[in-house]
C-alpha cells in the first residue's frame, strides 16, 4: 500500500491534534491537551481507485520557529499549516514556519488551514489577510475540528496533491 507522511504544523493550541482526531476518529473535545514531541496516527483513504495510507505526524506546537524540530519533517510528502482564526498572530506564524519547512521538504505540497471557523464571534482575521495568503499562491481551507467543516476536504485535497507530485 502507498504510504504518505503528512506533518501537522502550527503554533500551540491552533487545533492540530483536534483536526487529526476529527479526521481519524470522527471525535472532538473542547478540552485542550498539549502535545509533546510527536504523535503519529494512520488513516487509509481511497484516492484514484487506490488505497493510500496517510501517516499523520501531529507535531508539538512551538512558540518560536527556531524550536521546530526539523528531524520530524524528514520524509514528509506534504504538510498542513494550521492557524487559529481567533488568534491573528497564529496566521503570521505559519509564514515563518513555511519558510523553515521548505528548506527541509522544498517540493512537498501544503495547505493552510484556518481552524476554529465555528467561533464566528471570536474570529479575528479579516478577509484581506486571508486573501494575502492566497495571493502568495497558498491554498487556504477554513476548517472546524469541532463541527467537522472542511476537515475531510483538507486532508483529501492534500493527499491528492501528494499523489500528483
Amino acid at each position: 500500500m502507498i504510504q504518505k507522511k503528512i506533518c501537522m504544523l502550527g503554533t500551540f493550541a491552533v487545533g492540530k491534534t483536534s483536526l487529526v482526531r476529527r479526521f481519524v476518529e470522527s471525535i472532538y473535545s473542547d478540552e485542550y491537551h498539549t502535545t509533546v514531541g510527536v504523535k503519529i496516527d494512520k488513516k487509509v483513504v481511497q484516492l484514484d481507485e487506490q488505497e493510500v495510507m496517510l501517516l499523520l505526524w501531529d507535531i508539538q506546537g512551538e512558540e518560536s520557529v527556531q524550536d521546530l524540530r526539523r528531524s520530524y519533517l524528514r520524509g514528509a510528502a506534504g504538510y498542513l499549516l494550521v492557524a487559529d482564526g481567533t488568534r491573528r498572530d497564529t496566521l503570521y506564524r505559519t509564514r515563518a514556519i513555511q519558510t523553515v519547512v521548505q528548506d527541509t521538504v522544498a517540493l512537498a505540497p501544503f495547505l493552510l488551514l484556518i481552524n476554529k471557523s465555528d467561533l464566528t464571534e471570536a474570529w479575528s482575521l479579516e478577509e484581506r489577510e486571508i486573501e494575502e495568503m492566497k495571493d502568495k499562491g497558498w491554498q487556504v481551507i477554513r476548517t472546524s475540528a469541532k463541527t467537522g467543516v472542511g476537515v475531510e476536504e483538507a486532508f483529501l485535497t492534500l493527499a491528492q496533491k501528494m499523489l500528483e507530485t
Binding site: M1, Q3, F12, Y32, V38, I40, S71
Partner: protein, 131 residues
C-alpha cells in the same frame, strides 16, 4: 568522544538498560529489516519479519530511509501503547541502526509544564480579548 573509565562506562550502560528500556533494529541498504532485539515489545513493536521493507512494518519509520544524513534524532515519539520513545537512527557498516530509548518520564514531566505554560498563555489571550 570523551574517554571514561571502564567502571563508569559499565555503570552508564547498566543504567541505560535499567531505566531506558533500549530496543533496536538494523535496516539494510535495501530498506529491509535485517535484525532486531531489546525491549521492542514495550514499544508495541511485534511480529517483525526479516527481509521485509521497514516502511511496511514500522509506520513511524516510513519515509526516513534511505538516511540522507549520518544520523537522525526523533525525540518523544508517542508509541502505540502509550510509551514515549526517543528514536535514534544512525549509519553503521551493515546498514542503518534504529535505537529506541524510553523517554516517558521526561516527556510526561515536560507535558505537565508545557500544559501549564500554554494554559496561562491562553488565559492571557482571553483576557486581552475581553479588554
Amino acid at each position: 568522544m570523551i574517554e571514561v573509565p571502564v567502571p563508569i562506562r559499565d555503570f552508564m550502560l547498566a543504567l541505560t538498560f535499567e531505566t531506558r528500556s533500549p530496543a533496536y533494529l538494523l535496516v539494510g541498504e535495501d530498506n529491509a529489516v535485517v535484525e532486531w532485539g531489546g525491549n521492542l515489545g514495550s514499544y508495541n513493536i511485534t511480529g517483525l519479519q526479516k527481509d521485509v521493507d521497514v516502511d511496511q512494518q514500522i509506520y513511524f519509520l516510513a519515509g526516513l530511509f534511505p538516511l540522507e544524513d549520518n544520523s537522525i534524532f526523533l525525540p518523544s515519539v508517542k508509541m502505540d501503547g502509550g510509551l514515549y520513545a526517543d528514536v535514534y537512527l544512525f549509519r553503521g557498516t551493515q546498514g542503518t541502526w534504529v535505537l529506541l530509548l524510553d523517554a516517558s518520564a521526561a516527556t510526561i514531566e515536560q507535558r505537565r509544564l508545557q500544559q501549564k505554560a500554554h494554559d496561562l498563555g491562553l488565559q492571557v489571550i482571553e483576557l486581552e480579548r475581553e479588554d
